[in-house]
């Protein structure tokens, strides 16, 4: 398989020339640009980084959705994780994405400079290994992520139990994507013509994982992340607008099966139980999260490591809550690029590399001709 086939510039350009008249025609017939939402943060970055967003911009407004796990994590969860980092004898293990997410008063990056033992890991199994290497310490993995990431964390918990590891803990703040998308659809203020659904979440939950969307009869396509994926998914979605059978289209068949990854789903079920956590911007969403269940309670940091609950407050003026819902863009935030920038991020959307504000700061300023 040639990984690079989906990046092929020549094919991309041929396709774009092929689709462009169709995009123009549809825009003219509708009397406005279409408004699609890319749910996934990785899509947000890909559309920008490849320049496809820029290329499509005469026809399509691409809005970014709630698909950056760091961005939708509730401020209280962020603060709680930082509070754990301050505890003596605790080693925090985390994916790099979390390091600079601003808590109410500080962040992990700064806490490390203050002496907290915080290690960036690339995988959950690396975190488990650190626990095994430091039996006298409590090793806590920050469990942030969607359906894609959660199975590997569930696996590490199962392995810890298997191997009798007593000092490995997970702070489980995992989220499920469909409930967030559903909540957006139910919101009447939303003018979204179609959804580009997250390819890698779909790898786990399958096309069938989106069934609840079908009843709302909104066009939706599961997409990959390469330029040709992005372009063709947008094309398919435009076609759906014209005439749809109201089934979720799968434009990522090389990776996404009807039922997803059944083994991963069963592992999630083994370790987690469905919960209704708070999301940034959304508030509490029913059945939208995963908690460690009672059989694995001994690995649940929130139950097994005592820690005060810090007071949380969102930075005044930060629009992340609206941005993750796709209701505003970073350009609507007065702080964007001024008080808030990647060096001194004020909200999570500016810090995560796939946060909408960060992506727009890094990639979109050129097109908006915004000098910041």
């Amino acid at each position: 398989m040639n990984v690079l086939a989906y990046r092929d510039g020549t094919l991309f350009n041929q396709l774009f020339r092929k689709f462009e008249p169709f995009f123009i025609e549809k825009r003219e017939s509708l009397g406005r640009k279409f408004r699609f939402m890319e749910v996934c943060g990785t899509h947000t970055v890909s559309f920008s980084k490849t320049g496809v967003r820029d290329l499509l911009s005469p026809y399509i407004d691409l809005t970014s959705g709630p698909g950056c796990p760091v961005c939708v994590t509730d401020q209280a969860d962020i603060d709680q994780m930082i509070a754990y980092a301050k505890k003596e004898n605790v080693i925090i293990t985390t994916f790099g994405d979390m390091m600079k997410v601003p808590g109410t008063r500080t962040n992990l990056y700064k806490e490390r400079a203050e002496g907290a033992d915080i290690r960036v890991v690339y995988s959950a199994s690396q975190a488990l290994q650190i626990a095994q290497e430091h039996p006298h310490k409590q090793v806590l993995l920050l469990g942030v992520g969607f359906e894609t990431t959660a199975p590997s964390i569930a696996l590490s918990i199962m392995r810890a139990k298997d191997e009798g590891v007593k000092n490995f803990f997970v702070y489980a703040a995992h989220k499920l994507t469909p409930p967030a998308v559903k909540s957006l659809i139910n919101d009447d203020n939303h003018k979204i013509d179609g959804f580009i659904l997250p390819g890698h979440v779909s790898v786990i939950i399958g096309r069938e994982g989106w069934r609840l969307l079908e009843e709302h009869q909104i066009p939706a396509v599961i997409s990959g992340f390469e330029p040709i994926d992005l372009l063709t998914s947008t094309y398919l979605l435009t076609k759906e607008m014209e005439q749809s059978d109201y089934t979720i289209k799968n434009n990522y068949t090389r990776n996404v099966k009807e039922a997803g990854n059944e083994k991963a789903k069963s592992i999630l079920e083994e370790v987690f139980t469905i919960s209704s956590p708070k999301w940034r911007g959304f508030g509490s969403l029913p059945f939208s999260g995963m908690e460690i269940n009672s059989a694995y309670e001994e690995f649940d940091a929130s139950k097994r490591i005592l820690c005060e609950t810090p007071k949380s407050r969102v930075v005044k003026g930060c629009r992340c809550g609206e941005i993750v819902k796709g209701k505003e863009t970073p350009f609507d935030c007065k702080l964007f690029g001024k008080a808030c920038n990647p060096d001194r991020p004020l909200g999570p959307c500016m810090v995560s590399s796939e946060g909408t504000c960060s992506t727009y700061f890094n990639y979109e300023r050129a097109n908006k001709k915004v000098s910041l």
């Binding site: 996934c40 690339y122 990776n255």
Partner: protein, 73 residues
């Protein structure tokens, strides 16, 4: 939200349920516990150090062929 790469399996350690995979010439050790089964030579999708799916190569080839043909149509 979930950076993943398609990589080719070049070595399997059944004992430890890990595999060495190759992506554009660089090799990474990943877990394969989330896969039903996998063989060397197959492609897997890698996320956060775990292979999260066996890639359907047939589909990969077909799709791209479909889009290529479309440009000629």
């Amino acid at each position: 939200m979930c950076l993943s790469m398609p990589a080719k399996v070049i070595e399997i350690d059944e004992q430890r349920r890990t595999a060495k995979v190759d992506y554009l010439g660089s090799q990474l050790q990943v877990g394969i516990e989330l896969l039903e089964k996998v063989e060397t030579g197959q492609f897997v999708l890698v996320h956060a150090g775990e292979a999260i799916q066996l890639i359907n190569e047939e589909e990969a080839i077909q799709s791209i062929r479909y889009w290529k043909e479309l440009t000629q149509g």
